[in-house]
Amino acid sequence: MSTPVLQIAGLRVEFPGLLRTVKAVRGINLTVTGGTVMGLVGESGSGKSMTAMAALGLIPKPGVVHGSVKVDGFEVVGRRDAELAPLRGGEAAMIFQNPMKALNPFFTVGEQMTDAIRCHLPFDKKAAIKAAIAALESVHLPDPTFTLDKYPHQMSGGQIQRVMIAMALACQPKVLIADEPTTALDVTVQAQIISLLRELVATQDRTILFITHDLGVVASLCDNVAVMYAGEIVETGSVVDVFADPKHPYTQKLMNTVPRLGAGDQNLNFIPGQVPDMGFPPKGCAFHPRCDQADDKCAASAPDYMIFNNDHKAACHRLDEAP
């Protein structure tokens, strides 16, 4: 199965202001095929979360969205909220970084799950409860019937994140968008969630757009990866290709800045400078002010993608010159 489930083309997200227009996403193309996990990596301010929000038409008010986002062929950009209601939580579900704040503390897990299910599927109450129990079982929560009667504060962060995943998957979405779902969790819990997601992809053929800043999580979960910097995708390809042979200087540097476990007394590299102000992104290649390989060309014009084997692409002027 390799049909494109999520297609993003020429997506731009801008927040016009009186002083400046913040260009959060600056023309990205991304395709997530069915049954795969796409990792969208970047630092804060790279536009990765805005891309996720745009995929569900959730960009807040002053924001302007250009380009196209298609979920299973359905165009999201330019739709009104009412038209998007069946999409959100139905065709495309989202899970968030802070699981503790994602559930309403005044209702039980069961009430919130059945509500969500009945919003999108023509189930009566009994069938919805059944579906909820099945969903909770699939995320390996012990004693699902008991869990339904619990309030969010009676559960741990890891358990709630499992509930959120169960809730998101209960309506059989075409794509699951996960925005840093493991960042707020402890390492052992993160490992549990990663292996759960891996299992769901393998056994249920799920499609996931996984947004994170953690390269280790990408390496252990995703099939493909897109690296974002300053609102653009600088490099994309299969995880194996990109991690084995990163082409873009930013990807290379990012990988070198991560302290590796078991590497002993290593010399840690870092990227000098700061992430640019997206009100005034640098001209040319956005990374050139922080890149040690940059020359005049990099400051003058934005680079095109160079394509390597297996759809591994990177946008850098220096790659043209390499033999």
């Binding site: 630092e43 819990v189 549990q192 390269l215 252990s220 991560v258 590497a263 840690l268 870092f270």
Partner: protein
Amino acid sequence: MTSAAPLMSVEGLSKVFHTRHGDVNAVDGVSFDVGSGETVALVGESGCGKSTVAMTLLGLEDRSDGIVRINGVEDGADEKSRQKHLGTNLSIVFQNPYASLNPKMKIRDVIAEPLTTAFGLRGKALNERIIKLLADVGLGPEHLKRYPHEFSGGQRQRIAIARALALEPKLLILDEPTAALDVSVQAQVLKLLRDLQDELGLSYLFISHDLATVEYLSRRVMVMYLGRIVETGLVGDVFANPAHPYTRALLDSVPSIDPALRDNLKTLAGEIPSPLNRPKGCAFAPRCYFAEDKCSQSSPNLEPAGQDRDVACFYPIKSTETER
């Protein structure tokens, strides 16, 4: 370890919180030393009590039991005398640089505050010291009149470090100093901390849940689980050959940056128990693959297990079993 008295020595530190639901032993008889110029890491997951250790050491929380000695001298019993004694020996850098700087104070005043309180510096001497401290962390005098919100996360953490250094501490407690920062900035701050240690001969108590940064910065590591230390030793040894099953589980949970190694990611079953009903015997036993009957009946003490290594486990993993 040096034979002389360590810079800081902690003995039987305990903290009990009295809550509506019962008493919580957040920290339960923790003992350790930090040598001069040494970095000791305190590792564990949220709720294991590692931050409470920091708070009690600083006197921000009263401790229920235990003795803290600095350079062999025992500190006082109440917060006031404790702060007087610890005085400028101890300082802290907090996790979130967005919250640990008063948003209504200019950077100059942020750094000046400890200098005036602790040393009574005024006027020219004060300004020179402030500029020197900022220079030490890589910031210039042009930043003095700005407010915290005008800085990025990494710069703010530099300011917080400069403030902590203002007291001229011998020991700096680092409470997850890079957890709130982006990876590229995280590396800058880690490197700065290392350089400062080399330059000033500082000791660090490095509290973290991130094993890779622990390995980068520390010499020794202590692993905490539910208020107790379960394993200590040299970082390289412990991470290469963990003896406590929990240490091993922690290490196995860290996702590798190499996609080929993704199947090495192993998950630990279950959840951290609530400290309100701590399991009988070894607190880790209910989740432990190696647990036997004995483990759920009596609780193991932290005992020497090889060179520079202490483990609190009845059946520690032998190094031959730990092929990672």
